[in-house]
């Protein structure tokens, strides 16, 4: 005889006690770990009054850090967007040897420490004993300890996002429409601009948003290759740490607040895009893509 409390709702959604228990655990954990700390930034930033916070952020070094950060994003994101779309097209639409290798190469920035990424760039582009550093120096290009190296580091860490977001979308839409366009006489470019790109646009946008968030906040890789000179090679995350270490705490929190607001804008964009197009996948699922998850 079935217990009447075993209604469909109770089985799948848990009994009342279970539901409340798990809800409390989940929300409590999220609150303590995630939400409270972020609210704290606001309070700490203005702990010494609005004056000091404002002064730090608008100081010449602070402004320089802000614009340099945006510059890094402006270099890394267009490069990785073009590369990401091309790479995703090749991975989904073509068969070739070494595809699995290419696939794992793309995930490398997810799998290794940002510090190691910075170190690896020093070994290749370092002016003293890097592979190409001395030659580049002869051409008048210094990479390490300049914004050039910082841009390289930013490009490296933000590389996989667009590829990983576009691949599942391309797989899902298939190539029927592209073939139809070809049959009707469209050339490769026309097919891409009029058929493929419109179909994958939300996937691309989502990848761009994720890559931007990463590029804005990158710390480790940039810290290694930048030399961290205030007013010259200091991005906003490096500026935050410098303020903290020079005991300008409220200044550090104020600069962190600027970054946090940018992050919240990113989060908002992520949610708006995901609501528009259910084909875009959460970043984790994208990274799991190879398993077909």
């Amino acid at each position: 005889m079935l217990d009447p409390s075993l209604s469909e709702r109770n089985i799948v959604h848990g009994g009342r006690a279970t539901r409340w228990g798990l809800r409390t655990i989940a929300l409590g954990y999220l609150g303590a770990l995630l939400i409270v700390p972020v609210i704290i930034i606001f309070f700490e930033a203005f702990g010494d009054g609005v004056g000091n916070a404002w002064e730090t952020v608008t100081s010449p070094d602070g402004q320089h850090a802000f614009w340099l950060t945006l510059e890094m994003v402006a270099i890394a994101i267009p490069l990785n967007t073009v590369f990401g779309i091309a790479c995703a097209l090749v991975l989904v639409r073509q068969r070739f040897r070494g595809k699995a290798f290419l696939n794992s190469l793309i995930d490398i920035p997810f799998a290794i420490s940002p510090v190691v990424i910075g170190l690896s760039l020093i070994f290749v582009y370092g002016s003293v004993d890097g592979w190409f550093g001395p030659w580049l120096l002869d051409q008048g290009i210094r990479v390490i300890f300049t914004p050039v190296g910082m841009a390289l580091a930013t490009v490296f860490v933000s590389m996989p996002f667009v590829v990983r977001e576009v691949v599942p979308v391309l797989q899902e839409i298939g190539d029927d429409q592209e073939q139809a366009a070809r049959t009707l006489g469209a050339n490769g470019w026309q097919t891409f601009w009029r058929v493929t790109l419109p179909a994958i646009r939300w996937g691309v946008t989502y990848g761009v948003v994720l890559a931007t968030a990463r590029a804005l906040g990158e710390f480790g890789a940039v810290a290694v290759v930048s030399g961290r000179v205030s007013g010259e090679t200091e991005t906003l995350p490096l500026f935050v740490r410098k303020q903290y270490e020079t005991f300008n705490l409220s200044g550090a929190y104020a600069a962190a607040l600027v970054l946090a607001l940018l992050a919240l804008a990113t989060l908002l964009a992520m949610n708006l895009i995901r609501r528009r197009d259910s084909a875009v996948v959460a970043p984790t699922t994208a990274a799991l893509g190879k398993e077909g998850a």
């Binding site: 770990l33 409270v36 700390p37 190691v116 170190l119 890097g130 799991l288």
Partner: protein, 249 residues
């Protein structure tokens, strides 16, 4: 495209591997068996495993609550899960310091500059991985199975253990693998809250950073390669387990 990847990714990684073995195996061995390096690697490994274990449990609970439970504000909570992906790591470290630091808001001492601080920071940055891996699987899970089990007299815990967990295992393991890879290489959120005390709270990435700063690049490369090897090794084990559990599910 291959050129772009080679210049950007392949060559730099090859350079680290070659550089670490430049002085022969002896030099490599000396670099990684240095007590400070060894302590840093061990701490990183153990702490990452703890963090992944916690994530496997809390991540699954959070995913369950977000999929099966109904409460006001659920959509906002759902979107907040991605916050650690969006928030710069240095900001994450700074906020945790504000909260749990010795002069922190909560007034708890003994978190910042300790291994607990390291664990807290890593829990923060790895939070989304398991949740986001389990959520879609749980949404697709056929609820008929659970109802059938209940009608045959299975109690809720039995249903959870025999039906829900086996079906979610591949997703949980996949999320854990990514969380582990992230934890083992994490730098930005740790540099402030861990205090970077050698033999105590210094993790491998911070150790490597220190070696680079003091011009000891070959030693930095050796530890990097070991870190890379551990990361690849653990990812392989997770993938193997995940495939195995898929077969037995």
């Amino acid at each position: 495209m291959i050129g772009y990847l080679s210049i950007l990714v392949l060559m730099p990684i090859a350079a680290v591997v070659l550089r670490s073995t430049e002085g022969g195996w002896d030099a490599f061995w000396t670099a990684i068996s240095n007590p400070q390096a060894f302590a840093a690697i061990k701490l990183t490994f153990v702490v990452s495993l703890i963090v992944v274990a916690v994530n496997a449990v809390t991540g699954t609970i959070i995913a369950w609550v977000l999929v099966r439970d109904q409460f006001p504000g659920k959509r906002i909570v759902n979107s907040l899960i991605d916050l650690p992906f969006a928030l710069p790591t240095i900001v994450a470290g700074l906020t945790l310091l504000a909260l749990y630091g010795d002069n922190g808001v909560l007034g708890i001492s003994g978190v910042s500059f300790t291994r607990i601080g390291v664990v807290m920071a890593l829990l923060f940055v790895t939070l989304p991985f398991v949740v986001r891996a389990v959520q879609p699987t749980l949404m697709e899970l056929d609820q008929d199975m659970e109802e059938a089990a209940a009608s045959l007299g299975a109690r809720p815990f039995t249903i959870f253990r025999r039906i829900i967990v086996p079906n979610l295992t591949p997703a949980i393991l996949g999320g854990c693998a990514l969380a582990f890879a992230r934890a083992i290489g994490e730098f930005g959120s740790l540099i402030l809250i861990s205090g970077n005390i050698p033999f105590k709270t210094e993790v491998a990435s911070v150790f490597i950073f220190g070696q680079i700063e003091s011009g000891n690049e070959t030693s930095a490369a050796a530890v990097s390669v070991l870190l890379l090897a551990i990361s690849v090794g653990v990812l392989t084990i997770f993938h193997w387990l995940s495939r195995r559990s898929l077969r037995h599910a």
